[in-house]
């Protein structure tokens, strides 16, 4: 199929493009970008019909990539499946997603990786990149077979959700993975400091009588992993940064030239621990929502490049996981279908420019995961997201493609939304 998208503003941070242009897609690849491409179709396009889509007022960006999702399959299909998660991804504007290994069984061997890839191929929606476990069953004691997992198709390694407490094991993992060019994604949490914690430790945990998770539970591990990366001359990617202290540590590491990258999630620059006062379990997430000061620091970190990536930590849950007492509720937010719109607020709020934001949601995660994606360069896969920057809409969890209806943003007014998602040259979502 051939597609010609006309009349939109094209933003491609990789090529420093931000202008009104047409883009021509052929055989699943980006064939040409330029002005007045409609003449080109008339002359060259004798035998095949080109579908022309007028996108005046829209913004075309490289297909968005969310490098931190939980697709729950195998094991927790009532929360999400690979197919429903991929459907949520394209509806949220994401052409590629990476999924964490904390399924049941854990993605710690080739057969699970291959299963996830097969399910993703069958779903034929977004590109799905499995992330393999660092340790067997993510138990933190024995390394998985990194080499075998890489050959099976993992994009990175992580024990997300079950942080590697053993510093020696983390050191070995980072060394071995680096030699294989595999990124290591660290969920930074000292589980002794966070034990029994339910929310950020501060004034609001005090008045709500909920056990606190101190910011230092995250920061101590960020510091540890930076030290390991420095000493072993390897790289680490810090997942879901939530505190001002972590931002400072990462900023300092980058200044010293260390190979440290970082991501944050929309809820960490949108919500605070103050929002937990109703004990609404949809606000329960790990790491927890932090203070106003932390939110300000996260925004600064995004603005100055300390935080490279926005990834929503999509964590879908069933009703039974959330409709319980706060203490017993599962952590997580179903985020894929609100992530882009929440992130667009960073442009309105003057934290980021359009190209900066798009880079953090496409080019930068592609670089962290070493994927040849996140750009509209000629010859690359035709993964494209089309955004209507002015579209006003209201979040309705019942309309989510995701099985996880757990969102603290239900009912919130939004502006800006992905209205079309093209994966490999095919339209996988059209919400116009």
């Amino acid at each position: 199929m051939k597609l010609l998208l006309t009349g939109a503003r094209i933003i491609d941070p990789a090529q420093n493009i931000d202008s009104r242009m047409d883009i021509f897609l052929e055989d699943g690849k980006i064939a040409k970008t330029g002005t007045n491409l409609s003449k080109l179709t008339k002359s060259k396009d004798s035998e095949e019909i080109t579908k022309i889509i007028d996108l005046a007022g829209m913004i075309i960006v490289p297909g968005l990539i969310d490098m931190h999702t939980h697709l729950r399959e195998p094991g927790f299909e009532y929360k999400e499946t690979i197919a429903s998660g991929a459907a949520a991804a394209v509806a949220g504007g994401f052409t590629s997603i990476a999924c964490m290994p904390n399924t049941n069984p854990v993605n710690d061997n080739r057969s699970i990786t291959e299963f996830i890839r097969r399910k993703a191929t069958e779903a034929a929606l977004a590109n799905v990149y499995p992330i393999g476990a660092i340790s067997k069953k993510s138990e933190g004691s024995q390394l998985t077979e990194f080499w075998d997992l890489k050959e099976a198709g993992i994009a990175a390694l992580s024990d997300d959700g079950k942080p590697v407490m053993d510093a020696a094991l983390m050191r070995r993992a980072m060394e071995y993975a680096y030699s294989l060019q595999l990124p290591v994604i660290s969920h930074c949490e000292d589980t002794n400091l966070s034990a029994n914690g339910l929310m950020n430790e501060g004034y609001y945990s005090t008045i709500l009588g909920l056990n606190g998770i101190p910011g230092i539970a995250e920061e101590a591990m960020v510091a540890r992993d930076i030290l390991i990366a420095d000493f072993t001359k390897t790289a680490v990617h810090i997942a879901h940064v939530s505190t001002a202290g972590s931002v400072h540590l990462i900023r300092d590491a980058k200044k010293r030239g260390l190979k440290v990258t970082a991501e944050t999630a929309p809820h960490y620059f949108t919500l605070t621990d103050e929002d937990l006062q109703s004990y609404d379990t949809n606000f329960k997430v790990n790491p927890p929502l932090r203070s106003k000061q932390d939110v300000a620091a996260i925004k600064e970190g995004l603005a100055d490049g300390t935080i490279d990536v926005i990834a929503c930590d999509h964590a879908p849950h069933g009703r039974t996981d959330k409709e319980v007492e706060f203490e017993y509720a599962a952590n997580g937010i179903s985020g894929l279908e609100t992530s882009l719109s929440l992130s667009l607020n960073l442009i309105g709020g003057k934290t980021l420019s359009w190209p900066e934001l798009i880079a953090k949601m496409s080019l930068n995660p592609a670089r962290v995961l070493k994927l040849p994606k996140g750009t509209l360069e000629k010859g690359t896969d035709a993964n494209i997201t089309i955004i209507d920057p002015l579209l006003k809409w209201t979040v309705d969890v019942q309309a989510f493609r995701s099985r996880g209806k757990n969102s603290p943003f239900h009912g919130r007014q939004m502006q800006g939304k992905a209205v079309m998602t093209i994966v490999g040259g095919e339209i996988k979502y059209d919400g116009r």
Binding site: S205, T206, G209, L210, V324, E325, E327
Partner: protein, 308 residues
């Protein structure tokens, strides 16, 4: 004044006027408990369910007596929180109880916020009888009533609350109530028992008992839960009692007419020496229990439309 609240979830949500109305109503009910026939027909035909997910003797009995003295039908349910793992959820239990049309549900639960969850689901009035380390509003109301009776006022008094503030719902409710009513509230306990940024609640914080109780009008001792020792929040009961036990010596630092309170159950010799706990010139501990019935009668009355 008409009482407008549907539920009593915490002192945080009550205005000074509402607290005063509750205390005045409670005072008018005190006398009923001294009669030969301790029963009035006020709440005849009303049904009150005491739903207790946590062990309690004092509070549950107090609610039951309060309901019965007003002629309400009271039902006690002792549930185990283990049922969250196996069996019915709080939400399902609540919906089943709702279907039986009670008028008030009194809930005690180990999870902070459980009464808020219940209140959002059912149309009946909910009274929080203690939720985790969050609030215990009826305890704070009976404490304020006791203080008012002995001191004639609350405003301007120095009230020292001593012990494990971090895990205490009694402390939080009293801090809200007493500061609203104009008292000067000071806290003391080992640093490990003082929750983060507690000063922002409008209290002064000390780590030594003596600093907090000096010139105090009221000293409120909190129960030390022995199992907390495992969490390393204090090294040993021996060391705790050497430094935080209210006794004949340190009580002299307080005002001469100081009253000593304790929400119970007391650990004799740990946070309070037996001769202070039993000395009627200081201790108002049993008086607190007495006021508890009146306060709970007042709340049941006000929530079921008694002020109309």
């Amino acid at each position: 004044m008409k009482f407008e609240k549907k539920d009593i979830l915490g002192i945080k949500d009550l205005s000074v006027d509402e607290i005063n109305l509750i205390l005045e109503t409670a005072e008018s009910f005190l006398e009923i408990s001294t009669r030969k026939i301790k029963k009035v027909p006020t709440l005849r035909g009303k049904t009150i369910i005491n739903l207790f997910y946590e062990a309690s003797t004092r509070t549950r009995t107090s609610f039951e007596i309060a309901g019965k003295r007003l002629s309400a039908d009271t039902i006690n349910i002792s549930a185990s929180t283990s049922s969250v793992v196996k069996g019915e959820t709080l939400i399902d239990t609540a919906r089943n109880l709702e279907a039986m049309n009670p008028d008030v549900i009194v809930l005690r639960h180990s999870a902070a916020g459980a009464p808020h969850l219940l209140a959002s689901l059912v149309k009946q009035s909910i009274i929080n009888a203690g939720d985790g380390a969050h609030e215990h509003p009826t305890q704070a109301l009976l404490d304020m009533m006791t203080i008012k009776e002995h001191k004639g006022k609350i405003a301007g008094l120095k009230v020292a609350i001593i012990g494990d503030i971090e895990h205490s719902r009694v402390a939080r409710s009293n801090i809200y109530g007493l500061t609203k009513m104009g008292a000067n509230v000071v806290l003391a306990g080992p640093a490990t028992m003082l929750p983060y940024d507690i000063e922002q609640m409008g209290v002064k914080v000390f780590t030594r008992l003596d600093d907090a109780i000096t010139n105090a009008d009221v000293v409120m001792m909190l129960r030390i839960q022995l199992e907390r020792q495992k969490q390393s929040i204090f090294p040993s009961l021996r060391e705790y009692s050497q430094h935080y036990c209210l006794n004949r010596n340190n009580i002299k630092l307080a005002k001469k007419d100081v009253i000593v309170m304790h929400p119970g159950p007391i650990n004799r010799g740990v946070e309070i020496s037996p001769d202070i706990a039993d000395d009627p010139s200081y201790s108002v501990i049993l008086d607190q229990v007495n006021k508890g019935v009146a306060v709970r009668m007042a709340l049941l009355y006000l929530l079921t439309g008694g002020s109309e």
